[in-house]
């Protein structure tokens, strides 16, 4: 490579680096405006009803439609397909702000964006995109993602749901478990094995509309948190779908699932950040108002140290999440960073919500304050879309590759 060419490449790299780094320090104006818009929406429309949605396990249909109208339900979908045409950093900011108002609404939005629309956008044909994405951009319809089964969660390669070809149809049989949104969804991405002998290379991806003959839903799980979003089993009994409902090539299912989850992790990391931030907001406000030993408790070092630790945990996780987003936007590998972001953010959420209850004392334990709901909502973030243990394996795998000589 000529010296001039090399110099040019280094300059380009520096400039990209500078742009990306400065975005970590201060967001571009459009992103600031977007963040403020989502925050205003969450403050005015979500936070006031979040406790009721949680208590009554009510799906926020009206709010999902309003978010759809704003573009939040299909943030990275190009405008010609009905989406907002924005980047991953914008998506992360929106998910954080929405989840800060209501974590359940956040997960509904995140699953629709990353886990349902995501794979269709990346692996679908133009026809499939029009059919399976455009109606799901407005908030009128949401989708879900069916990978886990009663017999395997982390062990995604061991899918026992089968799909066999019969003439011009695929026939699916099996049960999927823990499917977010399924009771409110109008379509699902399903992973089933088409060639059991090929193990994880024999898994394929399918699109099934809901409701559909042969597809039924299990009972809604009674969860600890994110109760306004529905979670249940999807049962497939001789569920017949046309041949062109297969997404991507035969046998590419595992690869599609893993790549989809990489992006989904940025969405969940953002959701966890929103919950963590809401906990800090709650605790910080309380520290000013509550007095003990003759002064507001914010004057006590014990409380101050907690607040500082919470803030550091959130900000570090947030920067990791933004970095993963920026790498993805630059079309660079981001698997390690996404896993780090999800791990850091979910652990920050459980840590911050735990400490927030501690700061609030007795008030943190009752439903009058949102701290207990943040505590319950936070817990799932360390489990779904890859447990913290799986994230550690993913990160370690990447690191070991880097050190391989």
């Amino acid at each position: 490579m000529s010296a001039l060419c090399k110099a040019r490449k280094v300059l380009d790299l520096c400039l990209t680096g500078c742009r990306s780094l400065s975005q970590l320090a201060e967001l571009p104006e459009t992103h600031q405006l977007l963040r403020q818009t989502c925050r205003d929406y969450a403050d005015r429309e979500l936070a006031p009803i979040a406790a009721k949605l949680d208590k009554e396990h009510v799906y926020p249909a009206k709010q999902v439609k309003e978010l759809g109208a704003m573009g939040v339900m299909a943030m990275e979908v190009p405008e010609e397909l009905g989406g907002a045409g924005m980047d991953c950093l914008a998506y992360s900011l929106a998910m954080e702000e929405i989840s800060r108002g209501c974590a359940s609404t956040g997960v509904v939005a995140s699953v629709n964006n990353s886990l349902y629309i995501g794979p269709v956008l990346k692996f679908g044909t133009e026809e499939q995109k029009k059919q399976w994405i455009t109606p799901f951009t407005t908030g009128e319809k949401v989708g879900c993602f069916a990978l886990s089964e009663p017999g395997n969660g982390s062990d995604a390669g061991a899918a026992s749901t089968v799909a066999r070809q019969e003439g011009e149809e695929w026939v699916l049989n099996g049960t999927k478990a823990w499917i977010t949104n399924c009771w409110d969804a109008s379509a699902t991405v399903v992973f089933a094995t088409t060639d059991k002998k090929l193990k994880h290379k024999g898994i394929s991806t399918f699109l099934i509309p809901m409701p559909h003959p042969g597809l039924s839903l299990g009972k809604k799980e009674d969860k600890l948190g994110i109760r306004a979003s529905s979670t249940a089993n999807i049962i497939l009994e001789d569920c017949r779908i046309p041949l062109n409902n297969m997404l991507g090539p035969r046998g590419a299912g595992f690869k599609i699932a893993m790549q989809t989850l990489d992006s989904g992790r940025i969405g969940i990391a953002s959701q966890a950040l929103g919950i963590a931030q809401a906990s800090l907001d709650c605790a910080g406000d309380y520290a000013h108002k509550r007095s003990a030993f003759g002064a507001p408790i914010g004057k006590l070092q014990a409380i101050q140290f907690k607040l500082a630790d919470m803030a550091v945990a959130i900000e570090s996780a947030r920067l990791l999440t933004w970095k993963a987003s920026l790498l993805r936007d630059a079309k660079k590998p981001f698997t390690k960073e996404a896993a780090m972001a999800k791990l850091a953010a979910s652990e920050a959420a459980t840590f911050c919500s735990h400490q927030a209850i501690q700061i609030l004392g007795g008030m943190g334990y009752v439903t009058d304050m949102p701290a207990e709901r943040h505590y319950r909502d936070a817990r799932i973030t360390e489990i779904y879309e890859g447990t913290s243990e799986i994230q550690r394996l993913v990160i370690a795998g990447q690191i070991l590759k880097e050190y391989q000589s």
Binding site: T30, L33, L34, T37, M70, G71, M75, E79, A84, G85
Partner: protein
Amino acid sequence: MSGRVLVGVKRVIDYAVKIRVKPDNSAVVTDGVKHSMNPFCEIAVEEAVKLKEKKLVKEVVAVSCGPQQSQETIRTALAMGADRGIHVEVSGKDYESLGPLQVSKIMAALAKKEEAQFIILGKQAIDDDCNQTGQMTAALLDWPQGTFASEVSLEGDKVMVVREIDGGLETIRINTPAVLTADLRLNTPRYATLPNIMKAKKKKIANVKPADLGVDLTSRLEVLRVEEPPQRQAGMKVETVEDLVAKLRDAGKV
């Protein structure tokens, strides 16, 4: 008729922020404090955008007078659907003493320059509560005014305005061009959609100086002192109505 609407948007301290007075009692603390668009200006923008969506007007121009940061307020208006913006740059001491008289002179000059058919403003700003700019602008232009509007409908070259007044609701019919000021119940401002936020980036904001419009910014008012409202005193409980009357009489209230 040009079909052009000028909408004034003011950058004020956010309504949810707790206001603090500077230690020297000269003004309110604004450094590092969250600012946003005046809520009544949001309603004004919404009304203008609605008129454009109904194809009753052709172009919505958002105007703001203030320092660099006023551009953020204009961008918010663009994200809500305004077509372009005009930033009238006023900063430093001029900005500290900027009031309804100067702003209305600026709006009047712009209205003539842009051949506006309507000027829509918020009825008042939540920082100074003056409730004067709309009225002064109309007077300077010798245009009719429909203030405290809770309902606006265009009828050919006239406008019907329902006004919220102390006695109830008053309906007037005025000629165009006209100045309208928005009251709380005129509409519910929309949340900017994300595609519009992206589009707002591409819309133009022109930069203008008050001198270019021939406006003199000298204030006729001088702020002498700014104070917090008196701290709420502890109350007291009384046992009987007689006690209450006696205490009120002692305090000179009856």
